[in-house]
């Protein structure tokens, strides 16, 4: 079993197609929609947590790509502006996944973007607004 969080970019022509449902029916994958938007450019954007057998997972991704959906790993979604971050640590107890952690030695705050589920809770609570949402 694998479980990964991915960002799907749907071109305008695909926005109203039932593509994601096929992942369940034909590839036996389970999904959780973490976020869904239609951008001002009318591109569809969806953040999914996709779970299933590795083989099915890979086939599902191939299927999405064959339809014209662009796929991006989620870690690129919320990024930290390292210049703005002051390493205060007030984001640490807010992050639900432990993606923001204080290094006990340096007292700097590490951002493990592979753990980030892009819930964006830290984005507005960061006093210097160092956590940025990028699409």
């Amino acid at each position: 079993m694998v479980s990964k969080r991915i960002v799907l970019h749907f071109p305008h022509r695909l926005v109203d197609q039932p593509i994601v449902c096929k992942l369940v029916k034909e590839y036996d994958l389970q999904f959780n929609i973490l976020k869904a938007y239609v951008t001002p450019q009318e591109e569809g954007l969806m953040v999914l947590e996709l779970t299933g057998k590795e083989e099915n997972f890979n086939q599902g991704i191939e299927y999405l790509q064959s339809c014209g959906v662009k796929i991006q790993p989620l870690s690129q979604d919320v990024i930290r502006n390292e210049i703005k971050c002051t390493d205060c640590g007030v984001c640490v107890p807010i992050c639900p996944t432990g993606a923001l952690v204080v290094d006990l030695l340096t007292r700097k705050v590490h951002f493990y973007d592979n753990k980030c589920i892009a819930c964006e809770l830290c984005v507005k609570i960061c006093p210097t607004r160092a956590m940025e949402v990028h699409f």
Partner: protein, 400 residues
């Protein structure tokens, strides 16, 4: 044992021994206070946290024809500044926000831009838009002024913060069942997190708990430049309860600080937005502690585990001015990332950057070692623990 004069002589000769407020802890542990006091001349402290009672004075120079801003109004990048002085002096406060900021109308307000951010932009050397109106007089006929200003062209740019550098601070929690947004950050319901705001064992006034060396006139690291302690800060409260080691167990002393903004740096004066609360300025301050004798070094070697503070509920107790504490914790516990409040394990977050505080203490240490920074004798003491000086609440009286 030694005087500030003697320390300065050593600084000039390049023979001074300086360690940070962290390093002195190990040194005293290893060698004892007596030996450490003999060896070390100066201990450097540091802190880098949001400090709302901060702001800057600017003298913008006279326009042609002249304008008198005093009694008029003025804005810098749409942020209202105070100009109730003579013709062209302005004070911009850290928490000021543009008139059209939605504030908390859409809750929680984001407070994306305000005085703190303008100050950071000015320090960074960026042009800032000034818009002012005045009523006009015979000697100052002009009624409107719109121009860019830049720090390099200003006559004076002075950071003057009336309260900074709190000696200890509360730990904020939320006992209610909904999230609250405070100056101590977002507090999740039912003890969802506990936020604190102090550099603990690096924090200036915690390392000189009785203000034996820090006083009015003390030269300091301020915002990356040089500043001075100008006065006791507002709400200075030296008479709170203290532990046996002299460390206050609640917010206590404060200092007012002043310095030339033109030498300061944008990385040490950072515009800050507290969700649902407002805008402020995060200020970097470092204070040198001259090791005059063994007693001073003992205080300077106080550790996180010896510094206690109070846990306060910010859903009810704080806003309603209900005294009381949910318990006492030390900074070593806070820094471990988890504390126990009412039997529950609660994750902690710091608003004050410890790693930056460390950088400030190191920076000040290197200035002193290089001979760039001499110490000053205080010209007057801060009101002390026995002074009777207290922080009083407002007594409201009906207007008749």
């Amino acid at each position: 044992m030694r005087t500030i004069k003697e320390i300065n002589a050593k600084i000039k000769k390049g023979e001074v021994v300086v360690v940070t407020a962290e390093e002195i802890i190990d040194l005293v542990k290893k060698k004892g206070a007596k030996k450490a006091a003999q060896e070390v001349d100066v201990v450097t402290t540091g802190t880098f946290g949001p400090m709302c009672s901060s702001g800057t004075f600017f003298n913008i120079g006279h326009s042609k024809p002249r304008i008198k801003l005093g009694g008029g109004s003025c804005k810098l990048n749409d942020v209202p500044a105070y100009c109730g002085f003579a013709a062209v002096d302005i004070y911009l406060g850290a928490t000021a926000i543009p008139d059209d900021d939605p504030r908390n109308k859409v809750f929680p307000g984001e407070f994306k831009y305000g005085g703190g951010h303008v100050i950071q932009e000015i320090v960074a050397g960026r042009d800032v838009r000034l818009e002012a109106t005045a009523y006009g007089t015979d000697c100052y006929p002009r009624k409107k002024l719109e121009t860019y200003i830049n720090m390099k062209d200003l006559n004076e740019a002075v950071l003057f913060n009336i309260r900074n550098c709190y000696q200890n601070y509360n730990v904020a929690v939320n006992l209610s069942d909904k999230i609250i947004y405070t100056y101590m950050g977002a507090l999740k319901p039912k003890l969802g997190n506990a936020n604190y705001c102090s550099a603990g064992q690096l924090s200036p006034l915690l390392k000189d708990p009785y203000y034996k060396t820090i006083g009015i006139g003390t030269k300091i690291f301020l915002g990356g430049g040089i500043g001075f302690v100008a006065w006791q800060g507002t709400q200075h409260n030296p008479t709170v309860k203290r532990k046996d080691n002299g460390v206050p167990q609640a917010p206590a002393g404060t200092i007012a600080v002043i310095g030339d903004l033109k030498q300061m740096k944008p990385e040490w004066l950072v515009g800050t937005s507290m969700l649902g609360y407002g805008v402020t300025l995060t200020v970097g301050i470092g204070v040198p502690i001259p090791i005059l004798d063994e007693e001073v070094v003992k205080y300077a070697a106080i550790r996180d585990e010896e510094i206690y503070t109070q846990i306060v509920d910010y859903s009810q107790a704080y806003p309603q001015m209900i005294p009381g504490s949910l318990g006492e914790v030390n900074y070593s516990q806070l820094k471990s990332g988890k504390i126990i409040v009412q039997g529950k394990e609660v994750s902690t977050g710091n608003l004050s950057s410890y790693s930056k505080a460390r950088e400030i203490a190191e920076e000040l240490k290197s200035w002193i070692k290089k001979g760039d920074f001499l110490l000053t004798e205080p010209v007057a003491a801060l009101p002390g623990a026995e002074s009777g000086y207290t922080f009083k609440p407002l007594k409201e009286r009906p207007i008749v």
